[in-house]
């Protein structure tokens, strides 16, 4: 099985356009406004990503976490707009980007994986060809090179028979396999930042862990920066250095993962932690920890 370390170095190293301490994604005091309801939906969110860093956003559906991701990708739905603050991608203020510059950045600098992989792939084109297409367009590779690289990527995301999967259609693959294909497509042009928005939510727990491990591998070995969005605090805690907790468009808590887990300030964060402590595996695996943090109140 090809692992990521064996994966051939691309023509361009992943972080060539970003020094290790360079801020690759900066979200500064961003507000998002909905013109239809004339209401502000996101009331100010700020965080920074440097190469190899992972930031997580936790919140319910409707908390504004997905809109924040879409703002960073320049794909807010039509009637939404960034009404305050700024977003920089490797030093470029996205408000000043032309459509051509956006096309240039997407895929090769910032890319994303969402919850429902099937809806981001064309059902009538073999999945391998769709990845190869990304490689051809983004790196100028020949068809042959693109096919070769696509097969390498399919192996790198731990699909057991890359040549077979390459020639398959979306309906022939399971949800976990599709999500791996989508991750392969997302990293095909060696982006600096990958946004994973509920990317593992619909998957079995063991497959979820496999995908999260894959992202952690990429982060370690290639210096990929990750923005991980989930409704599950534990998913974010496993992968991220910093956590933001969002509720109704407000960031109610923000800090290092350890700070947030051990000294939660907001009642909502405490509820998310208590749910795990009372109903999750933590009850059996980390009873000494929960006692220490004083979370077993209802226990």
């Amino acid at each position: 099985m090809t692992t990521l370390s064996e994966l051939e170095a691309p023509q361009r190293t992943p972080v060539s356009d970003a020094a290790p301490d360079q801020v690759v994604l900066a979200v500064r005091g961003v507000h998002i406004h909905d013109h239809v309801s004339d209401r502000e939906i996101v009331h100010g969110i700020s965080f920074e990503l440097t190469p190899g860093k992972a930031v997580g956003i936790v919140g319910e559906s409707g908390s504004g976490k997905t809109l924040t991701c879409r703002a960073a990708l320049g794909i807010l739905p039509e009637h939404f707009a960034v009404s305050g603050g700024s977003i920089d991608i490797v030093g470029h203020d996205i408000a000043e980007l032309s459509p051509a510059q956006w096309t240039e950045l997407r895929g090769s600098t910032i890319s994303a994986v969402f919850q429902d992989p099937a809806s981001y792939l064309n059902p009538s084109i073999r999945v391998g060809a769709q990845i190869a297409e990304v490689i051809r367009v983004k790196t100028g590779a020949t068809r042959r090179q693109a096919r070769h690289r696509a097969l390498e990527l399919l192996a790198a995301v731990q699909l057991r028979n890359p040549a077979l999967v390459y020639a398959q259609f979306t309906y022939e693959l399971s949800g976990g396999m599709l999500q791996r294909v989508l991750i392969a497509a997302a990293i095909a042009a060696d982006p600096t930042v990958v946004i994973a928005d509920e990317a593992t939510t619909a998957l079995d727990v063991t497959v979820q862990a496999e995908i999260l491990d894959l992202l952690a591998d990429l982060q370690e070995r290639t210096g990929l920066a990750l923005l991980v969005v989930s409704h599950d605090l534990a998913v974010v805690a496993q992968l991220c250095d910093e956590v933001l907790v969002m509720r109704e468009g407000q960031v109610v808590e923000q800090g290092t993962t350890a700070e947030v887990l051990h000294h939660p300030q907001h009642e909502y964060t405490r509820m998310l932690i208590a749910e795990h402590e009372q109903y999750g595996l933590e009850r059996y695996l980390h009873s000494e920890l929960s006692a220490e943090v004083g979370l077993n109140r209802a226990g």
Partner: protein, 279 residues
């Protein structure tokens, strides 16, 4: 056989189930044996395609068994005709709650009519049925003003609680819940789990089906783990989580996201995945 003679509300032994015919025949369940005692809560865990939902559907008579025995409330049901199944279901000894209550609640029927329907089928009068349904709403922490509404006018969490209430109207011995909290957000998940805990305390046996060990850990007395159509491990919840035996169970426990360090690290999970290829 009278119910009292058998303390198990559900007894499954050596169950085989196949899907498809001839060359496309695939075994969905392979020699599955499981017993659920009165008032017991069993977490039935497995990944997509492991056979956990097939097991539930077989118990409900929706999928025929090729071999093995099922006893519900002491009564051997394998080989039941459709008619016998209908009679059994009408008695409401076993009830079923789906992941998505929109599938089990008719969108054009008010909550009130949905709730009393199982009783009307049993021949209970409307007034009496309504009298019995009201306290159930309290049990699922909902206001009686919701009775006049349609399922579409309720939130996902409210709908799931209505589905639980509807499962309770026939005073079942056993409720099978298929991923009852997977689609809910945190607050509603806790609410539904609280309700299930109260049901357990009231002596209703529960089979809680989920792909996620974490979602049943806080409520199940016992956990049964399915993998590729077989029951690979059964034991008290604490034992299965702290000392898993089967490779799949070890991977399952090691894969569950936890707030602190996971039960297995990345390298251990990779080794377990590799080992599982040879099981």
């Amino acid at each position: 056989m009278p119910a009292e003679a058998n303390p198990a509300v559900l007894q499954i032994s050596d169950l085989d189930v196949y899907y498809g015919a001839r060359r496309r025949r695939r075994q969905a369940l392979d020699g599955v044996s499981l017993q659920v005692s009165r008032g017991e809560t069993v977490g039935l865990i497995g990944e997509t395609g492991s056979g956990k939902s097939t097991l539930a559907r077989t118990v409900l008579g929706l999928v025929p068994a090729a071999a093995g025995h099922i006893r519900i409330d002491g009564e051997a049901v394998a080989g039941y005709s459709r008619r016998q199944w209908r009679t059994l279901r009408r008695r409401g000894v076993i009830q079923y709650v789906f992941q998505d209550p929109l599938r089990s609640l008719d969108p054009d029927v008010t909550i009130e009519d949905s709730l009393i329907e199982p009783l009307l089928i049993q021949g209970v009068g409307r007034t009496e049925a309504l009298r019995r349904v009201r306290p159930l709403l309290q049990r699922v922490h909902l206001d009686t003003e919701l009775l006049a509404r349609l399922p579409g006018e309720l939130s996902g969490g409210q709908r799931q609680r209505i589905a639980v209430a509807r499962a309770l109207v026939t005073e079942p011995e056993l409720v099978i819940l298929d991923e009852p909290v997977s689609a809910l957000d945190s607050a509603n998940r806790v609410e539904v789990l609280e309700i299930l805990k109260q049901l357990r305390a009231a002596g209703v046996a529960l089979v809680f089906i989920s792909h996620d060990l974490g979602s049943v850990a806080g409520i199940a007395d016992r956990v049964a783990v399915m993998y590729q159509g077989r029951l690979v491990e059964t034991g008290p919840t604490r034992q299965v989580i702290t000392a898993p035996q089967h490779v799949y169970t070890r991977l399952l426990v090691g894969s569950a996201p936890t707030l602190h360090s996971a039960a297995a690290d990345r390298a251990e999970r990779a080794a377990l995945r590799a080992a599982l290829q040879h099981v």
